[in-house]
Symmetry: C2
Subunit: 415 residues, 2 copies
Amino acid sequence: MERITATYLVETCYDLKEAAHVLAGEQSSGTFVSVPGESDELKARFAARVEQIEELESVSQPSLPGDFGSNMTFKRAKITVSWSEENFGTNVPALVSTLQGNLYELKQFTGLKLDDFTLPKSFTDKFKGPRFGIKGTKELASVEADRPMIGTIIKPSVGLTPEYTADLVKVLAEAGIDFVKDDELMTSTANSPFEKRVEMIQKVINTHQDKTGKKVMYAYNISGDIDQMQSQYEWIVKHGGSCAMISINSVGWAATKKISEMGELSIHGHRNGYGMLNRHPLLGINFPAYSKIWRLAGVDQLHVNGIENKFWESDDSVVRSINSCLKPFIKEQGILPVVSSGQWGGQAFETYKRTQTTDLLYMAGGGIMAHPSGPAGGVRALKQAWKGAVDGKTLQETAKDYKEFGESVLKFGSK
Amino acid sequence: MERITATYLVETCYDLKEAAHVLAGEQSSGTFVSVPGESDELKARFAARVEQIEELESVSQPSLPGDFGSNMTFKRAKITVSWSEENFGTNVPALVSTLQGNLYELKQFTGLKLDDFTLPKSFTDKFKGPRFGIKGTKELASVEADRPMIGTIIKPSVGLTPEYTADLVKVLAEAGIDFVKDDELMTSTANSPFEKRVEMIQKVINTHQDKTGKKVMYAYNISGDIDQMQSQYEWIVKHGGSCAMISINSVGWAATKKISEMGELSIHGHRNGYGMLNRHPLLGINFPAYSKIWRLAGVDQLHVNGIENKFWESDDSVVRSINSCLKPFIKEQGILPVVSSGQWGGQAFETYKRTQTTDLLYMAGGGIMAHPSGPAGGVRALKQAWKGAVDGKTLQETAKDYKEFGESVLKFGSK
């Protein structure tokens, strides 16, 4: 039987080996006394196994509340544990409950974060994975391979009417945008019913496509009950749309998979709420593990924050997330990293330098809408920034060579 | 329009009022520059509103990484924010993305935890809520109102055959148990296919019911893909079962709601993974908010850990969780708190003293299976403990009055 491995970052004041075995034990037969029926043979077959312990630094303050008596040395380590495939078949919720589950409750640990996991090919082969992935999604929007998809978000998030939103989309489509999305706070509201919004926006997009051949991708936020998501999905398909957006943490894994498997739209995975799972350096889950769970659900696009973002996350962490998405996982496919948060084009240079990829959906909000030459100028500026970055130019050189990007630098460059 | 309110525990080195407005702004129209279309009228109608700021203590070390320059005073506060119902209709994933969403990413906060929220009756009235709740679930298992349901977990979690598991259930049923559950790590495995397990266990339970009139409730773990959960649910119904268990964090909200609404089984909500969301005192979500989200999905039973548990959680926190479950929320109903983790009966006294309720599902693992007089002794001991507690006796008095509980105290009381 093949094995599944998971790597954790942990902190403990206990003996590291002992703590690692508590971790493995909790995820195979944890209870506070030995019970009849736990034969050695069963244990050997189904028990989790500690594969590796790599000791890291020690600290004198615990990262999380826990049980540590007078011992005030907290050892950090990277621990790798494995389970037999037999334990879960290909049931992902069972896998998640095993990899995460009650582990975070163990008082032996004053820190525990799931960093990454590996699955045998026999496991991932049973999953459809993303229907469109990087290549398919870029093709849906007629975006050339040598540049990122350029996208923006409708703001304000709630309050606009379908008419106003459709007018905005018209302006953006004419400005050359590839992708537009609902804000994640926007679903169906009193003054913007979902069906009406889709109708009006797709009319604009379809007309633009008839004229130019290019279909702008709009990510409609279908997050909600399953039945509602299914009917809204069908509504998008019926009106010629190409994408649906799901707030994956709020909707959950099983429903996201069900929707992804409908197979007609590229699925835009919005990770809002991720900070709760990730912000503490020694609690929760890191992006490589997180993204794999959602790739098993079939999302095509996944948010990764951005370089010099407006949030707390470091650039190193963002780069690691981008690379995670690009790395093949199911059927040798990557998924499209969605770069957003405070982006205006200035970050294209560092983003390209550190990732060497144009397989991105690069999103700017104010960076497009508030451009001095209007949204068309904003879109042009972003394309110019990426052209400059890919051509090996600096930000300054690009600002000199291209008018609209030059204007962006004057407006957004000082912040 | 009625408003939804949410209360957060926060920590910040910024001016508290300013930080509260960043929080509210992020959840209505967050972007880094003002954009056209944000009229004052729209803002007034759809913007989140800061309702209250209650300043708490200050600390000199930040709880989470963030942006604080040279300022090293971190103020803590309880902040209440409100939104108009208009922002989401009754879409719970949209509500969750609003209450939680990108808030945890804000670098202005070095701590942010959603503590609780309130919904107008017009909102909760649109939800079916739990089908069985406290009363219905206890009735399904013929449990008297004046004592908790007594339950146990099949251990080891994975490895046992359906035959062995059914034999164990027979022993437990004859011992007088009310409730038995799969371990959360157990779904359908190589040597215990789900269908076979249900067939064999329900045969034992149905036979026992024919003889005694009592139907032991078995919580089969159906966590998985939606289609699989639906067919496994039907399989349980077909074989006369009364309960299905879902690892709610792993399966997710929308799928859990879909399954709960099938309406024939009591839904056992297992919260494994909750520590990731809750263990840090200033990150994530507290139980009152967490449980309401799952009550909207329709779970009838929800794990709350236990007094003197084997995990890290404090007794105060467990008591707060129990009280949260008992408090009416949808259609004036409570849900059944599932008390577990290191329980053996000794904790009945403190649990009853602090909650004054018998509306509990009180679970013991080793406390039953490893009882000196066998499982039957273990079940009797638990019932005796609760009888003693409700009668106002002390642990010592109860141990003296009842043989099997006396044995429990000798075996488990010293740990």
